[in-house]
């Protein structure tokens, strides 16, 4: 009775662990990033519990420092960076361009194993007692002073970087070489454009952070003077190298989420995107300018003021393509046929939270203001609005949108709306108070803090508990739907795009015959070819 799909084409653990099917690899990633997300979330929970009171009464200072460090390392390197590209991108890019698989299926599987290997190193560092340098590994603290497992954790980051590089390489080659006949660049779904831009950052930026982390290990183990001034090194050099990757890494997290939002907004407004080429090129602009803004992390680190001036200017410039996207998404809803299914709720949540995250970035790009808010909770709030409010809302929105396609099952629309609402409310209650605490001067990474900041921290911790419930709800109903959800049709949303023309879940080879593409995606109204605007 059951038709053959990629899910039941081969049974047993071996058929999953040795699979070359991009869709199965996407599910392997889904399971592993979910596990890391839970782990990172657990660390965050301890941080928020400790900060309920000004005194350091729950955890020892050293333990607290390890908690926020491991929260950052796990969330950034093992959840946010792989989440959308390796799960949704892996699953959808070949289907969206009418291909049977990625260009290098074996390398795709290899990248998952590398990711797991890196994860095991980091996990080993946690089990051995953790690392306390902050996820930024600043020298000379990390090389000369820290007594924790810096090298093991650093190797985890180093190794998992290769998984990112291989995924980016695979995407770029696939998008260039494997598009179906008729699928020109300007007919590509914007999700694919966003991943193309992301992949560029992955292959150009990741090697730099890999080398940087390796240099930390070299200095720590062999005492070669690279960053430690006592050995003749320069500690600020580390910050340049680290942020040269780690600022663009923020765009690795947010660009794919922007791609997801571009898809969702079209489907649930039943309308093609407003300003296709502006959205597509703004992704590339973000990827390129994003490489030239790293120095805004160093305004008060003794960097030349003229260098600071240029970095400040470029940081304001990189805000413009993001603004263009927000305006275009908003315009897309105008005169649409809008339905508020849960992916669209996540999409609206993304637009709101990303807007706040982006606009507060301007405060940090303004040099004179950054002096005061640098390294305070203002920064913490800002980047969580981007990385959680933006990237995770995008990820969850995308997961809900393509879940019926990926699993062939529907989930509870009621519970999914409750979950989306709780996450939005919990998120704002967690992080908005941190802007206020930050402007009041509360420094980040503080185990104890003066009592005048308590009220904002209590709000934040209360919000975090709502947020935690909000994250558990989807875990429950999505898991339930996996086994007992109603069967999904090929196109449950009435969406337009190659992925909605094939069965849910798709067969192993995706398409019976290579599709021939005659127009762009999301053509709801009968109309001419999408113009260049």
């Amino acid at each position: 009775m059951e038709t053959v799909s990629y899910l039941n084409d081969g049974h047993g653990l071996k058929s999953w662990l040795l699979t070359k099917d991009h869709k199965r690899i996407a599910l392997l990633y889904l399971a592993s990033v979910t596990a890391f997300f839970a782990m990172g979330g657990l660390f965050a929970m301890f941080v928020r519990l400790e900060l309920l009171t000004p005194a350091g009464d729950l955890l020892a200072a050293e333990t607290y420092n390890k908690m926020f460090t491991m929260h950052g390392v796990v969330m950034v390197f093992f959840f946010l960076i792989p989440s959308i590209p390796a799960v949704l991108g892996n699953f959808l890019i070949p289907i969206m361009i009418g291909a049977k698989d990625l260009a290098f299926p074996r390398i795709n599987l290899l990248s998952w194993y590398i990711y797991i290997l890196g994860g095991m190193f980091t996990f080993a560092a946690v089990l051995a007692g953790g690392v306390d340098t902050g996820w930024t590994f600043y020298t000379p603290y990390s090389t000369a002073a820290a007594n924790s497992h810096v090298v093991t954790a650093g190797l985890g980051v180093f190794i998992t970087g290769f998984s990112s590089i291989l995924t980016g390489l695979n995407f770029i080659v696939t998008i260039h070489r494997m598009r179906a006949p008729g699928l020109t660049w300007f007919r590509l779904p914007l999700f694919v454009w966003a991943h193309y831009a992301t992949s560029l950052i992955m292959i150009l930026g990741t090697p730099v952070v890999a080398i940087t982390v390796l240099l930390v290990a070299v200095e720590r183990v062999l005492h070669l003077g690279i960053f430690d001034p006592a050995l003749g090194g320069d500690p600020v050099l580390f910050q340049h190298l680290f942020w040269f990757y780690s600022h663009p890494a923020v765009y690795i997290m947010i660009l794919p989420a922007m791609g997801v939002i571009s898809e969702i907004v079209q489907t649930f407004a039943r309308k093609n995107i407003f300003g296709y080429s502006f959205i597509a090129f703004s992704s590339l602009a973000i990827a390129i300018i994003g490489f030239l803004v790293w120095g805004h992390h160093l305004f008060i680190a003794g960097q030349s003021v003229y260098a600071g001036l240029i970095f400040s200017f470029l940081s304001f410039l990189v805000a413009i393509p993001s603004a263009i996207k927000v305006f275009n998404w908003t315009a897309t809803i105008y005169k649409g046929s809008v339905s508020l299914d849960s992916p669209m709720l996540y999409c609206f949540g993304f637009i709101g939270l990303f807007t706040i995250g982006g606009l507060t970035g301007l405060f940090l790009a303004a040099m004179g203001l950054d002096i005061h808010v640098h390294d305070t909770y203002f920064v913490v709030a800002h980047f969580h609005y981007i990385m959680v409010g933006g990237a995770i809302m995008g990820y969850l929105g995308g997961l809900h949108y393509w879940w019926p396609k990926m699993t062939g099952r529907l989930y509870s629309e009621f519970w999914s709306r409750i979950g989306a609402g709780l996450i939005f409310i919990g998120f704002n209650l967690t992080f908005f108070p941190q802007f206020v605490a930050g402007y009041l001067g509360m420094p980040r990474r503080y185990h104890e803090y003066p009592p005048e900041y308590q009220v904002w921290n209590v709000m934040s911790s209360a919000g975090a508990s709502i947020l935690a419930v909000g994250y558990v709800i989807p875990l429950v109903y999505l898991t339930y739907s996996l086994f007992a959800g109603e069967r999904a049709a090929n196109d449950p949303w009435g969406a337009k795009g190659l992925e909605w023309e094939i069965p849910s879940p798709p067969p192993t080879s995706n398409f019976d015959a290579t599709p021939i593409v005659t127009h762009g995606t999301h053509q709801y109204a009968p109309s001419k070819e999408v113009g260049i605007v």
């Binding site: 200072a61 420092n65 413009i320 508020l340 009041l440 420094p443």
Partner: protein
């Protein structure tokens, strides 16, 4: 429990209103755009909600005029923010000539302070109001960051170099001092107080220290002449093996192998701990390193002394 809900930090320096003006400008502009987007999204979603199942949206592909509008208006506003931010930064960055100088050394997990007259403090800083104060800061171990929220000033304190921070306190009172750069286990314990006082009270406070304090210049002189015997080579005449330091501080010197260097705090420090890095032209690279032999505080004292020599005329010039 929470009798007052703090929203805004105290303004206690001449710099604070400048920073806050920029903050309120950004707050107003960004709030406007955030509300604009939120209202548009909500209104559009309600106004254009799907009324029957097979309804589709209008075929609108874009508008070049709108794209240009929402590219260039935000760009213009961003450039105003950029210019204003840069202006505030430059004002906060350049200490005025004649600022009162205080030496600060950060180490895990304390702030050591020495005033020009020799008075020392730990995790405290006393300053007079109405007078620019310049902190010259170094670190003994890892990177720290000196942060006084009520003054809206902050600067990283980095081992191996000197960063400066300056402010003019305007309101007497006690203000929080934080380390803002994560520096290890007791990072959140590396805090203290800055006390701004009426000038008269400050003078009284300075006089109230223990009698046996030595000024950094005097301590540096002792190191220079006796403890480290720098004077063996750096004599007051041109006969020595090293350059004469009279009148040199603040000047530019020719380096061996070409190039010049300004004799400032960083150059003097480097010449003591790593003498071969930038050798004064005309002298043999024979000076041994003093790395590990002098502490950060002694380095600051030596620099203070060398600077005091700089105010004396160089030999062979008219006074």
């Amino acid at each position: 429990m929470f009798t007052n809900l703090p929203f805004f930090p105290e303004q206690a320096s001449a710099q604070a209103p400048q920073v806050d003006a920029l903050y309120f400008f950004l707050l107003a502009v960004t709030a406007f755009f955030a509300v604009l987007i939120a209202v548009l999204v909500v209104v559009f979603a309600a106004r254009f909600r799907r009324r029957h199942d097979d309804e589709i949206g209008a075929a609108i592909h874009g508008s070049l005029a709108l794209e240009l509008l929402w590219t260039f208006i935000p760009l213009g506003i961003a450039m105003v923010m950029f210019a204003w931010g840069a202006k505030v930064f430059f004002d906060l960055y350049r200490p005025p000539v004649g600022a009162m100088e205080v030496f600060v050394v950060g180490k895990q997990w304390m702030w050591k302070v020495q005033h020009a007259d020799g008075r020392r403090e730990l995790n405290e800083l006393h300053v007079p109001i109405g007078r620019p104060v310049k902190l010259v800061m170094g670190s003994e171990d890892v990177i720290h960051s000196y942060y006084i929220p009520a003054f809206r000033v902050k600067a990283d304190v980095i081992p191996g170099r000197y960063n400066t921070l300056w402010f003019t306190a305007t309101k007497p009172g006690r203000y929080r001092l934080f380390c803002a750069e994560y520096c290890g286990t007791k990072h959140s314990g590396m805090i203290g107080w800055v006390t701004a006082m009426e000038p008269g009270d400050y003078q009284a406070w300075l006089g109230g220290g223990s009698a046996a304090t030595t000024s950094p210049v005097a301590a540096g002189e002792k190191l220079f002449n006796e403890v480290l015997a720098c004077v063996t080579c750096h004599q007051e005449t041109t006969q020595g093996r090293g350059p004469v330091l009279l009148g040199m501080f603040g000047k530019s010197v020719q380096l061996q192998g070409g190039g010049t260097a300004t004799v400032d705090e960083a150059y003097v420090r480097e010449s003591i701990v790593n003498p071969q890095a930038k050798v004064h032209a005309g002298f043999a690279p024979i000076m041994p390193t003093f790395q590990g032999l002098v502490t950060e505080e002694q380095l600051l004292q030596l620099i203070a002394y060398v600077r005091s020599l700089g105010q004396k005329p160089a030999p062979g010039t008219l006074p």
